[in-house]
Subunit: 408 residues, 2 copies
């Protein structure tokens, strides 16, 4: 039994007409000799409406019951899509997360998938050619409804592909694939034909939100080839896959940016063992996630500690830091929410020196001041003033030769 | 473990404020020392919206998938209500039909309950004080979602009460109970404190739609005491129960009417064996349900056959009858959709002669012509011209002493 997974996002199931376009993709899958496991998101806007409804009911809705509420969004999608598929004469049925036994932990609103009963699903494929599954949701071992958190439908799709040993996991969306950068701010952005899991992980976490980050990790772990493509065109899309030879030529695959950044600086904190824990422990306890951290070398036993958080968390982080500062003898807490993060990403940079230097030189040539720097094996990120974001993206895009037409 | 069932209809869960009123009823139940099994309908309008959505997607939506779609309405209700209950500190959780193992047959859109796993529910009550169940829906033995058809939440409630051996099944709605007739057309209508299952059955089928008819049959079969009452007042409501001594005094308990009637007459059909089958067979085959049937005594080997159908079915019934008429040698098909059915109902009439005579005399005194008559043990129904409906209701209400204040 040859199986492919086809996941359609919220914009691809937003209305009947778009669902009909998605239906054509399913037919293409069937004509390729595959059984098709469809995974759907809620229609665009539905999840937000349901979350807003929960908050109308309570300032702090019970998370388990919020999951029961929100999971209806995907159920509506799978029912409507199955109605179209049945009308088209396809042998199909809809399946909820509970029906497919997508078992998760009990971390309501952001559950993680623990197991999928692949045998039961294969048995259903004896009877049906297409199964239309709700993305984003699962069930606890004792049968309560959970949701996987924002973008969880991608994770559902990849997890099902892994469990079913599907040949391919197609992620259908409203863009034609993964781009070298945001086409909205750089007209010369171009679609990548291939990208590695690692590059995609960096891109997803940077705000190039084509694929939910957890799903990419999952795909990498189980080596599921993921094809990101558009429901509304015949473009072959972008294949997210393992690194291969052909990819080595490129130094940098893409430029990402993230404006949801706010910087906090603790001035002149004592540079003693345990100071980092004293600062970041309370933030973790308050469930605030910290992105970049930069500690300047110590001078005279004191140092500055710089880090960034999501802007929505700035107020809470600040209050915690005032407190920490008082207890650690720091001089002051400074904050700045007029910053953005800009990153160059590429598996190629592993084997090439000079990417960092080229990045800094490029930004300097545009008179863009670099506030913080952070690097990983395949990524260089800089915090800059927000107003320079678009300029920096375009400059780096050109500097790394991404403006040229695709060659791979 | 003492259990009561509390069912709240669509108007009782229509918004947050109303749900808060329902919450008070749950608290009252708990303070009585009961575990409370709550059963909810979809918020008023939600089911219609979902059905309309299905019909936007297909002129003839796959019924199994339509059930998947429509069942989200109750799921939204139970989640929102549980959010309020949790905020109020109650030990509660929501449950879908599938989670409670309310097993039905596979007649999508109008499934019938086959079994309920009462032991599993009692086990949940060890952990929770309140379970908030979706009405109207169940699951096939292999786990697919079904719905019970319009008004099915009443049936869910009574079935759960029967399975759990609940002491009482409270049906909360937006009226204070069962009335002697429609208060909208007879200002002197009064609430009944008690009514028998049989009377309720006749009333429900007549258009006094306080309780869904199937649920009353269920309640009668399993002897579940049902209390119909308002979510928005402290009125004790109407108890639907077995016949008892106190009820014998009343000849007639209520006057019902139904304007959804259209009359069809086949003139001068041959009065031979099999003629009724020849007429009603094709109607049954076309899934048209016939209400009243009156056959005049034969004269010269021919007879007139009169019957009524729902107005929405008139056109289809007419076409079938033209055909039947041609094949059976009938003279003509006449039809009339300006008629209404009016009924006097009461277990008391079983032991009293003269109720029929009194009914006819009353209508005659108002110059209302009786077109058809049909009787059962506890009911007399007349087809009259529609325009006289309100007049007839008021006249019969007075004639049978229902205008007087309640005495039971």
């Amino acid at each position: 039994m040859r199986i492919i997974v086809q996941k359609f996002g919220g914009t691809s199931v937003a209305n009947r007409e778009r669902m009909l376009a998605a239906l054509e993709k399913v037919k293409t899958g069937l004509s390729g000799g595959y059984k098709v496991m469809v995974v759907l998101s809620a229609r665009s806007g539905d999840t937000d409406k349901l979350l807003a409804l929960a908050r109308e009911w309570s300032p702090d809705p019970d998370p388990a019951e919020q999951d029961v509420l929100v999971s209806t969004g995907e159920q509506v999608s799978v029912a409507l899509f199955s109605i179209l598929l049945r009308d088209a004469g396809l042998k199909c049925r809809s399946c909820t997360g509970g029906q497919l036994k997508v078992v998760t932990d009990e971390v309501w609103t952001m559950a993680r998938i623990r197991s999928i009963d692949a045998e039961a699903i294969r048995a259903l494929f004896q009877e049906y050619d297409v199964l239309v599954a709700t993305g984003f949701q699962g069930t606890t071992p004792d049968g309560r409804i959970t949701t996987l958190g924002r973008g969880g439908s991608d994770t559902s799709a990849v997890a099902l592909a892994a469990a079913l040993k599907a040949e391919l996991c197609e992620i259908y969306t409203d863009v034609e694939g993964v781009f070298t950068t945001d086409p909205n701010i750089c007209g010369k952005a171009r679609k990548l034909n291939r990208v590695t899991y690692d590059e995609m992980l960096e891109m997803a976490s940077m705000g190039a939100k084509v694929l939910e980050i957890r799903s990419v990790g999952f795909a990498k772990k189980y080596n599921v080839p993921v094809l990101v493509r558009s429901t509304f065109s015949d473009d072959p899309g972008t294949l997210v896959t393992e690194e291969d030879q052909g990819m080595e030529n490129k130094l940098v695959s893409g430029i990402a940016y993230d404006k949801d950044q706010a910087r906090i600086t603790l001035r002149s904190v004592k540079d003693v063992p345990g100071i980092a824990a004293a600062i970041f422990g309370p933030l973790a306890k308050a469930n605030l996630s910290v992105d970049m951290i930069v500690q300047n070398p110590s001078r005279g036993g004191v140092t500055d500690m710089n880090f960034t958080v999501s802007r929505k968390d700035l107020k809470r982080a600040q209050a915690i830091m005032e407190d920490v500062c008082a207890h650690t003898g720091g001089l002051a807490v400074l904050y700045d929410d007029n910053v953005a993060k800009i990153s160059a990403i590429g598996v190629g940079m592993r084997n090439h020196a000079g990417v960092a230097a080229k990045t800094f030189a490029c930004l300097q040539a545009e008179n863009i001041n670099i506030i913080m720097i952070s690097t990983s094996e395949i990524k260089i990120s800089c915090i800059i003033e927000e107003k320079y974001t678009e300029l920096a993206v375009r400059a780096l895009h050109q500097a790394f030769g991404l403006d040229a037409p695709a060659q791979d």
